[in-house]
Structure formats: C-alpha cells, structure tokens
C-alpha cells in the first residue's frame, strides 16, 4: 500500500501531518513548553505595562527658548515683548505703556508655541523648510539680516543639509534662523518618538532577539536529540520515511506551536500599541505594517534558529553547548546592528538579516523617521546660541533603535533579499541537519 506512487500533496498529507500533529501533541504534554511560553508572555507583558504607563503619563512641556519668562518683572512674558518690540530686559519698557495698552498674555502661550513644521524629506543636499508659526521672527521688528541668521537669503527658515563627507558617511547640518520652530511641543514629539522607539525596540530586541533565540533554544534543541536519547526514535525510523523528512516535519511541528504564539503575541502588541500609542487617530493603522514585519521577522528567526539548534542537537549530545555561544554571538550581533547596520559581520549572522526586515518595514511605513530623529536631536535650535541641551526626550532612544536597512538597498528590496537569505539559511541548516541525521548511527 505504501509502495503506491503518491502525489506530493498526498505524501505530505499523510506523513507530514502525522509527525507535525504528533510533535504538537508531544509539546502539549510537556510542562516546560508552558513554562517557556508563559514566561515569554509575562516578560513581554511587563514591558507593555511599563509602556502603557509611560504613554498614560504627561511629558513635561519645557519652554525651550525661554520666552515665557518675564525677566524684567513687568508682567509681560519675554516672547510678547519681543513680538511687540519692547525691551524684554527693561521693566520700564513693555506693551502696557503703548498708546493703546495691551494686556499681558499668559506665560503658557509662550510654551510650545512654535512647533516643528518640516515638510521636506531626508535626502542629500541642502533644503530649506520651517515656518515661524508664532511670528517672533517674521512679524517682529527685527532687521532683515536678523531675520536671516543662517545667511541663505530666505528670512525665517531652517536649513537642513545632508552631506556625504570624505569618509563616506552621511552627516547632517541644521541651521535655523533665530525664532523659527524654536519651541516645539515636547509632549507631542516625545510621545511619538517614544512610541516609535518602543515599537522598534520591542520588535527588534523583545520579539526577534529574545523570542527568536530563546524559544528555539528551549524547544528545538531536543526535537530529535531527546527522542534519540530516550530510544523512542526507533518507532519513527522503523517506518518508510527518510530521516531528513523526519527532521523537517519535527521542525514544522515545533513551528506549529511557536508561530501561532509569535503571531498572537505580535497581534496583541500591535493592538496595545495601536490603541495606546500617540496620535489623534483612534488606532494607528500605519504601524500595523511594522508589526507585521516584526511578526514575520520573528517567524523567520525562529525558523532558522529552530533548524540550526535542531541540527546541533542531532550533531552532538551536548548540542546545547554549541548553541549557547552561538546565542551569545547573535546577541552581540543584535546590538551591533543597532549601531552599525552596514557592518560586514552582520552578514554572517541570522539576527542581522532578520532585523533588516524590521528596519526595512520601518523605513517604508515611517519614511521620514530620520528627519524626525534629526528634529528631536536639534530640538528647537540648541545650536542656535541657546545655552541648554535642546534635544528632546525620546529622540536618543529612537536614534539608537532605528537604523537603516543595511547594504544600501531600498527598503522593499532589502526586505525581500533579507527574507530570501533567511530562507536560504533555513534550507541550508535543514540540509545539514538532515545529512547529519542520516549519517547518525542510532543505538
């Protein structure tokens, strides 16, 4: 009966589904499976709770340019005095002494009064942007040279320049005319930046790195090896089935429990961050693209690591000893990819490629993310003569966790190539594992 020729589908339907189902049911009976999945859920839930807490709290609004202060104690904030042309440092000069006296405005009007409005994209070259919302540049009685402190001939604008230096790296230069976009809304910016940084960090470190490595470590290393040590592998190998098939189907069974788990956690994460995250919209639909990439990258990572650790388990009774240094290496590579996504070493890791998928999706969904980081780092013109560090909260972590997909490819192409490389790696590890398993003598 088994010697009948089978179509691929029918062969798969019989043997593959039997082993996959068997593997799933075997996992179900093991306590360690539930402990591992539960701990993974708890750990991520902890971070999500902190995220919800942070999103629920107010970010302190700072008067970045100091114009809400009434330095001369005449009752008029500095911003109002500058706009109306009186001397902010002289208590005898204020708009109350005008012919038609003007009432002092509340100081809060001069906090976050001139938010970012950059309408450019990040590309090489010099661009000019920025609108002086509150009019403390355009409408003030400054001279035209005072209105053009960055000397580009356009009054009250911001120069944003991306340039390639001789070492090949791209640097940026921001120079604003005094009084343009000088007092951004911290709450809006930081909320958005921290939200973005959270999605990227939980996706890259929490999902792709931690789930991606530890789930396979716990669950895939013993897929074949445990059966070999307990002697139950004899049952499976006494059937007309090639060993590399057993290897593949066991791994598929492992994926059968890991992939739904990752997908469910990812959807939960997407829902939470979509509802809780910043923005006026009821739900951040755009982020779903990034979350899908995170889920997909984690699935690919668990696939490749699963094949690899399974193969290591077949190779050696102490396969875990080989897997642990490898996991440490991948951890190092993950941190490296944050700083140097173009590093050559990353091409020899799994995590480098998996993170490239997330980075590519982030580039597609949030095309202006590096401009956004630039804004936050610039933060209202700290380099324009203000005496305090002007970068806004959230821009540094976002800067750290976001990175361009390596290889200098377009995001879409990068994601496709990374996926292909990961699939290729999985197939290679399957072949190696299958070949090792075939050559293994089982007592």
């Amino acid at each position: 009966m088994a010697t009948k020729p089978d179509t691929i589908y029918r062969a798969f339907d019989r043997k593959a589904s039997a082993i996959v189902e068997f593997t799933l049911r075997q996992y179900r009976t093991k306590t360690s499976t539930w402990v591992v999945l539960g701990v993974g859920f708890t750990a991520l839930a902890l971070i999500f709770l902190i995220y919800i807490d942070v999103m629920g709290s107010e970010f302190e609004s700072i008067d970045n340019d100091g114009d809400s202060t009434d330095y001369d104690n005449d009752g008029y904030p500095k911003g109002q005095e500058i706009r109306l042309g009186t001397d902010p440092w002289d208590s005898e000069s204020h708009p109350g002494l005008f012919d038609t006296p003007i009432e002092p405005e509340p100081a809060s009007m001069y906090i976050n009064e001139d938010d970012f409005d950059w309408d450019i994209t990040s590309k090489l070259g010099t661009q000019t942007t920025g609108i002086d919302d509150d009019g403390d540049c355009l409408n003030s009685n400054k001279t035209s040279s005072q209105k053009d402190t960055n000397n580009n001939g356009i009054p009250c604008d911001i120069i944003v320049e991306y340039f390639k230096s001789s070492d090949g790296n791209v640097y940026t230069f921001v120079s604003a005319d005094s009084g343009v976009d000088e007092d951004p809304d911290e709450d809006a910016y930081s909320r958005e930046a921290i939200h973005l940084a959270f999605v990227l960090s939980i996706g890259k470190l929490g999902f792709v790195l931690l789930l991606g490595i530890f789930l396979p470590l716990f669950m895939a290393t013993g897929l074949i090896r445990d059966e070999m040590t307990s002697g139950t592998m004899h049952f499976m190998l006494a059937k007309p089935i090639a060993r590399s098939e057993v290897f593949l189907y066991r791994t598929l069974g492992y994926l059968g429990i890991v992939w739904p788990y990752v997908i469910v956690l990812g959807i939960l994460g997407a829902l939470i961050s979509g509802f809780v995250g910043s923005g006026d919209a009821f739900f951040r639909f755009a982020d779903l693209g990034v979350w899908m990439a995170i889920i997909f990258a984690t699935m690919m990572a668990t696939l490749v690591y699963g094949m690899l650790f399974n193969a290591l388990g077949v190779l050696w009774k102490y396969g875990i000893i080989l897997a642990i240094p490898f996991a440490a290496w991948e951890l190092g590579m993950a941190l490296l990819s944050m700083g140097a996504p173009d590093a050559f070493l990353l091409r020899f890791s799994v995590i480098g490629w998996a993170l490239m998928i997330v980075d590519s999706a982030a580039m597609l969904v949030w095309p202006n993310i590096d401009l956004f980081i630039l804004m936050g780092n610039w933060g209202g013109g700290g380099d324009g003569g203000w005496s305090f560090d002007s970068s806004l909260e959230g821009s540094a972590p976002l800067d750290f966790f976001s990175s361009k997909p390596g290889l200098g490819l377009s995001p879409f192409l990068g994601a496709i190539i990374a996926t292909l490389v990961l699939l290729f790696q999985a197939i290679i590890f399957w072949f190696i594992g299958g070949a090792l398993f075939k050559g293994k003598e089982i007592q």
């Binding site: 902890l46 902190i50 939980i202 790195l209 642990i324 240094p325």
Partner: protein
C-alpha cells in the same frame, strides 16, 4: 523435551496434562505416570506451561497450591551495632565525588565538553593576569594603567558584562547545574544516596557546595592570581596591600554573592526539571533575558526599576557599591538590589528545599 537443567522434581498433579475441557480435581490425581502416558518430554512442557498451543487454559486459575508444610519465620529486626562514620565524612564523600570528577576519571562524569569549557573559561579569565604580567615585564606603564589592579578592573574581573558575566560565568553555572539534580531524578540514581545514611539536606547541600566550589575555583582563583600578579610584577609593598586589600576583599565578597546566587537559582531549576538542557538554558535565559528586558526599559523609558528583577544587574549594583566603583544605576539605592538578591535566593532555596524534600526515590 527441552527443559532447564535444575527443574525440581515434578509434583504429582502437574504431571497430568491439563486440558481446557477438564481441570483435574486434586483427589483424582494419579500418583505418577501409568504405562499409557506418552513419553515425549512434551508432557513436561505442557505441565509447566499449561498446554501445547495457545495456553488458553491458563485462565484456569484454581490450580491447587503445592502440598507442602509452610513455615512462617518470625520477623525480628535487630539494631545495627556497627559504628557509623561521622557525618562530615559521609558528606565529604559526596563532595569529593562531584569535585574530583572535574579533574579525573572514576568520579562523577561531568562530560568532556563541560570540562573543556571550564578550562577555556579558566584560561580566558586569566587574561588580565597575563596582561599585568606582560606590562610588568616590559615596564609599560600605559599598559599597566589599563590592565593593572584598580577598583574598576577588580569589578570587571568578576562582574564585567562582556565577556565575563555574559559568556563565561553564567554559562559555566548553567553547564554545571544542568544535570546535578535533574539527572538523579531522571535516572533514579538518587536512590543510591538515599539508601545510605545521608539526609536530604546533606545531599543537596553537598551538591550545592560542589557546584559552588567549581565556580569559585574559576572566579576566585583567577582573581587571587590577578592580585598576586600585580604584587609580584610591580613589587608592591605592604602599604599598597593595606590600601587595596579591602577592595580586594569586597571583590571576593561580590564574587561569592554571584556564585551563591547563580548556584541557588540553577539548582532550584535543576530540581524542578528532569531534562539536562532545561536547567541550563533556563538559568541563562533568566540571567541574560532579564538583563535585556531591563536594558530595553531603561534605555527607552528611562526607568531602571526593571533592573531589580535581573540577577545580573542586582549583583552588579551591589558589587559597585561595595567595591566602590562608579555606580551605573542611579535611580534607587543599592540596598534595594541587595534585598532583591536576598529575595531571589530565598525563593530559589525554598523551591530547592521543597523539591528535594519531596523528591521521590525513584525513576521519575
């Protein structure tokens, strides 16, 4: 025809072939074979096994018992009057069994890869000793200022994140605790201990001690070598020693704390699992996983509170406090970290003690 040699003489009733139809009642038993009995040797076989074919008649269970005078011996238990060796001697035997296994055969087999890894970590941990000796030999003060004994370097020798406290010591602990108790549970070899005058406390205590001592051999010995290398190569006098000895002692203390914590967490994981892999990976994921989680949160939200659940960070924080290096955790006092370590150890030891005291002396 073919029967084992030392078969006892058949009792009369079994010499009658038993057939399914008629079970011969005991009173009808012939005294022996009559002349018509077939003599093929098969008779014996049938007698012994019930029938030639299917043995269906084994269901006939009312076969009478051998007629023989039974005797019941009076059971009497005597106190053993021999002299038991002192408790420490028995404990020493367990400890020795585990410790010497690292070095030679005939004791607990630790597994070649584990021993190899221990050796590699030991040699790698000597890197600062080597650099100190080198800087002393070539007299390079720049090299010495990087590698010589200082607060930061003493801290780094034990608690530095990469590579020591990520790649070396947690992995060593994970490999050691892997099978220490779980293998006994898996193979039922705990019976070998508990069938002897050894209490469970002694059993688990000696296992704990042996794992801790192996780690101490790596961490503390290299630390001491490092300190002495500095004294030897730089010709340090008493004044220097008196100056730096407290900080050396503080480092030893933090190393002991690290060893104790990793061992207690690892052994409690080993006592709840049957496998060899699980305790090791679980210990590693606890140490490194919580570290990564706390890192994400502190980096992203500027909240360090999650460091309190990370054994690595609590140990580092306490270490920074008692060694006196620049603290990297500044949102809360180091006593919180100390309390967290105490709590972790308490939970781990509680799990360990309940698991071991309720451990069944069987193959689970």
């Amino acid at each position: 025809m073919n029967l084992p040699e030392n078969t006892p003489p058949a009792v009369p009733f079994t010499s009658q072939p038993i057939t399914p139809q008629s079970t011969p009642p005991i009173e009808h038993l012939p005294d022996g074979y009559d002349s018509a009995a077939p003599v093929t040797g098969k008779v014996r076989l049938e007698a012994a096994w019930g029938s030639t074919e299917g043995d269906e008649d084994l269901t006939v269970s009312d076969t009478p018992a051998p007629i023989s005078d039974g005797q019941i011996f009076k059971q009497q238990y005597k106190q053993w009057n021999g002299e038991l060796n002192p408790r420490w001697m028995r404990n020493w035997a367990i400890l020795r069994h585990h410790l010497l296994g690292v070095f030679k055969k005939g004791h607990r087999p630790w597994g070649m890869p584990i021993r190899l890894y221990l050796l590699v970590v030991f040699i790698a941990s000597l890197s600062d000793v080597g650099m100190t000796l080198l800087s002393g030999l070539i007299g390079d003060s720049g090299l010495h200022s990087i590698w010589g004994v200082s607060r930061d370097n003493l801290y780094g020798h034990v608690l530095g994140f990469f590579p020591r406290n990520m790649l070396y010591y947690p992995v060593v602990a994970a490999l050691l605790v892997g099978g220490v108790i779980s293998e006994d549970r898996q193979h039922g070899t705990s019976a070998l201990y508990f069938s002897r005058p050894i209490t469970r406390f002694d059993y688990v205590g000696m296992k704990f001690l042996s794992v801790a001592i192996i780690q101490a051999l790596i961490i503390l010995v290299t630390l001491a070598l490092y300190y002495f290398a500095e004294i030897a190569t730089m010709g340090r006098g008493w004044a220097w020693i008196i100056d730096t000895f407290p900080m050396f002692l503080a480092t030893v203390l933090s190393a002991l704390l690290l060893i104790f914590t990793y061992t207690s967490i690892g052994l409690s994981l080993s006592s709840v699992s049957k496998g060899k892999f699980f305790p090791g990976i679980a210990l590693l994921s606890i140490v490194l996983g919580t570290k990564v989680l706390a890192f994400i949160v502190s980096n992203l939200f500027d909240r360090e509170i999650l460091y309190l659940i990370s054994p690595y960070d609590c140990l580092a924080h306490v270490g920074q406090a008692i060694i006196g290096t620049q603290p990297t955790y500044d949102q809360y006092s180091w006593t919180w970290s100390l309390a967290s370590i105490v709590a972790m150890n308490a939970i781990a030891l509680y799990v360990l003690s309940t698991r071991v005291s309720s451990m069944e002396v069987t193959r689970e």
